[in-house]
Symmetry: C2
């Protein structure tokens, strides 16, 4: 086979080789902007429930493939081009906790439940990819809807043998010099160390008004801690379905972080800044997906899933501006609650419109309506044994009204078995007795307020959503990725591999884990 060449062949080869060289160089360059989104407790069921709900509120039907597959009814994450799957075990458990899984994602090391940033003998501390990024001159942001010194965010800056050492964790947080922290509050911030004073001394500005925080988008400020105005429970941001307008969404917090990380001068890291402009690593945790799943509240779960996915959307908007320099990775750390997209009582049919009647989360109902009612309902009499009450829920018109108002649940539409379950739970909640060491209670209520968890169970089952646990479960979790280096996240691998691949993408040449 012979071909005739009309131009100078030597020049053509030179050109081709130059193009090859340039293409290879471009391929080898790390992304400048790396986002890692972690949906705590998020696996396939949480994703599918959110999409079926989204389809329903957008006016479609969760029982119609065309509607379910409509791009407008899909989450941003499931439309990302690269899909992977990861195993979530920790060193000594099929069902990891968030401390060990966060250590896997952040440091590339398997450890035992409860341990952050250390090995399973609790003797060696490891660097997180956030710390490594900072050392390389990238700016770093850490966002979580739960407290900023909770297990998942902590793994990006702290090493402790026990996730409960909140003051120690917060102390290490101050020492990072990271440019941005945002989301929930701080647990145990005053003793032994006064974290607020430490933050001040380290040059951090702490903001907790919506307007002040949002203003950072126009006037970014380096070294800032943004705490959502209302901390609903356990120092966390409110569930998305409970959020007042004076608060921030996870997407807003993400937009603020992007402005801060991109808008100010290069970070304080020891290393050399990558590329010519700024570069950053931002971790965003949707932490209350997990909390809602622990409580088996599908609507609170879905609300926070959508909130989390909107934060992903904020990163995708950024990606559109810098498609060749941005990497976005989205995953969960484990499934929580044993959530299923189907239930024995509804068989092959789904009824997501049943969820539309729920106004607020289980926490909001418990803190507000339920507590008010219980305190006010003087006619209720607990029997001597403390378990069986003299009153029936059926005669408590106010309670039945609250169920309708807060959950869209009509007493008269329930079947006898559901009524019986509510009656038992009501007695236990009104009498303040719920012995979680009892096998039946452990299964039925899992330590949660019996009447509230029974209401969400029944409501969820009516919609065709089941739950089997109040803990984490061990099912593999999906990974979604888009942008520069996204292909690294295709395939089936272990959660520690995510840290290892992210490390490569932020330009760390050493193999993880790297001891401190």
């Amino acid at each position: 086979m012979k071909m005739k060449l009309k131009r100078n062949p030597a020049m053509m080869i030179t050109t081709a080789l130059m193009m090859l060289f340039l293409a290879t160089s471009a391929m080898a360059k790390e992304p400048k902007y790396v986002f890692f989104f972690l949906g705590d407790g998020m696996a396939n069921s949480q994703i599918q429930a959110a999409e079926a709900y989204l389809t329903t509120i957008n006016g479609g039907s969760a029982e119609n493939a065309e509607d379910l597959l409509n791009k407008d009814n899909r989450l941003n994450m499931t439309q990302m081009p690269v899909v992977g799957m990861q195993t979530t075990y920790d060193a000594f458990a099929l069902m990891t906790d968030s401390a060990s899984s966060a250590t896997a994602f952040a440091g590339g090391i398997k450890t035992m439940s409860g341990v952050i940033g250390m090995d399973n003998t609790k003797t060696i501390s490891y660097k997180s990819i956030a710390q490594l990024a900072h050392e390389r001159g990238m700016k770093v942001g850490v966002i979580s809807s739960v407290p900023l010194n909770h297990a998942t965010p902590a793994a990006y800056y702290a090493s402790v043998p026990n996730r409960g050492l909140y003051n120690d964790i917060a102390t290490q947080m101050v020492e990072t010099g990271y440019e941005f922290f945002g989301g929930g509050g701080l647990l145990s911030p005053e003793s032994p160390n006064n974290i607020w004073e430490m933050l001040d001394n380290a040059g951090y500005t702490v903001l907790n008004e919506r307007n002040e925080i949002m203003e950072l988008k126009n006037n970014p400020m380096d070294k800032v801690v943004c705490i959502n105005p209302w901390l609903q429970d356990g120092g966390a941001m409110p569930y998305a379905i409970d959020r007042p307008e004076t608060n921030l969404s996870l997407a807003e917090m993400t937009e603020v972080a992007i402005a801060v990380l991109q808008g100010t001068k290069p970070g304080n890291g020891k290393g050399k800044a990558l590329g010519t402009g700024n570069s950053f690593f931002l971790m965003v945790e949707g932490g209350k997906i997990d909390w809602a799943c622990h409580a088996n509240d599908a609507m609170a779960t879905i609300g926070d899933m959508l909130d989390f996915d909107n934060a992903v959307s904020a990163a995708l908007e950024f990606y559109k501006k810098y498609p060749n320099d941005t990497l976005i990775v989205v995953t969960g750390d484990h499934e929580t609650g044993g959530m299923t997209i189907g239930h024995a009582t509804t068989g092959y049919r789904a009824y997501y419109d049943r969820l539309l009647g729920q106004k607020n989360s289980f926490v909001y109902f418990g803190q507000q309506q339920w507590t008010d009612h219980k305190n006010a309902y003087s006619e209720f009499v607990c029997a001597n044994n403390g378990w069986k009450a003299d009153n029936n829920i059926e005669n408590d018109g106010i309670m039945l009204g609250l169920m309708k108002e807060a959950f869209g649940m009509e007493w008269t539409e329930l079947n006898d078995y559901q009524k019986e379950k509510l009656e038992d739970a009501y007695d236990k909640s009104m009498c303040g007795v719920n012995d979680n060491s009892d096998a039946e209670n452990k299964l039925l209520y899992g330590g949660y307020n019996p009447i509230i968890v029974t209401i969400t169970h029944i409501l969820n089952e009516q919609a065709s959503i089941g739950w089997t646990s109040y803990a984490h479960t061990g099912v593999p979790v999906p990974v979604f990725a888009q942008g520069k280096d996204a292909d690294r996240f295709a395939g089936f691998y272990d959660n520690t591999d995510i840290a290892k691949q992210l490390a490569k993408s932020i330009g760390v040449r050493e193999e993880l884990p790297i001891a401190k």
Copy 2:
């Protein structure tokens, strides 16, 4: 930038272009051997349960990441290089049935539950990828552990408005001329059409002895129907954990099919044979994973998962011989049972060794030990209302002995709540009353034998496995692929896309769906 060239540049360019041409041609060529493995009812939970069990029987611990990640304790499928994820909805349901999902995989079209190879108006029939492959001169094999005219295998050769039209489906099966059918038996084979006679007239040999079938590996025969000697329930092969030595595993059936499809002359299709040698398309269904999950029997599920994965291994052995010509795709059609890898009663701990005591499937126990005992236990007296029996399970020593013998379950180790559940179920099973329209029964037993499903529920929960349904669920399902064209199956897509990609891999140039 200038480079000096020591050889004739024109020749180098010619060589480079030729290499490029050859490389491109090689890339464009379709794989000659295409395997599609379908685990009916298989999603992430079934996969994870099988791997945790495999880890346990191999002497490791399901509570140790190192053991769980050991390649010897992993399924073949999760070690394949390409991972995807697919949505499983059918035209009018979040939770598909196996007829509509099989139609999606086989024909690339969404239809309604119960319909095979037709659109959702039940008026237009579509060609399956198996038919298209056959038309292109590829040989075709269809294997299923359930009857050969059950929904999933049927979708590869038949078009019917109702999956229950078994005689019609079997008639269409005979007319295909496909080279190999193997697995379970035929439902309704005698009326109106006598399928056995039709098969004979069409030149098919029907074998149902293990030795005869296995002999095909040495002396392959074209147009053969291999029916497993023992059809345990509903015309299906036995559960793997119940299989006697005189029967075949799914892996053995797959090996036989490979020998038949590769060993004899090109098929009877109208089209032109691909490439220079034989080529084939083989579909293998692990159909009883689904049946076991419907019944909430984890051990029967795991047994058939391992059997299915061994069949995948047979294809991987073949792949080693023809790595450039073989494509293997493995997926499930939907999840069944709402299986979860965790349970409220065990929290964060897993105990897979609890499963080791179960000797046989729920079907085997029901057909054998349970029936014998119930018939022989003359002392049992049902009360007048038919529900509440006068006898307690606790006093039925033979029954407690059977529970220990068949499931490794010790009565004295159960808690009061578990005992209470068993007592209720025992009464209902002994009195032969189980009204599945009653809400409580629907949840607790789902139409299955109350005492047996209660035993498997408790045993599974003890191991940390939960169930929420007796039906299919709507969670997305993983896809695994290896070999030529495997990259087509990366990403997140719909189940109909699998047919569309497979069609490309078997060289169909038209866009699916293609009407008959």
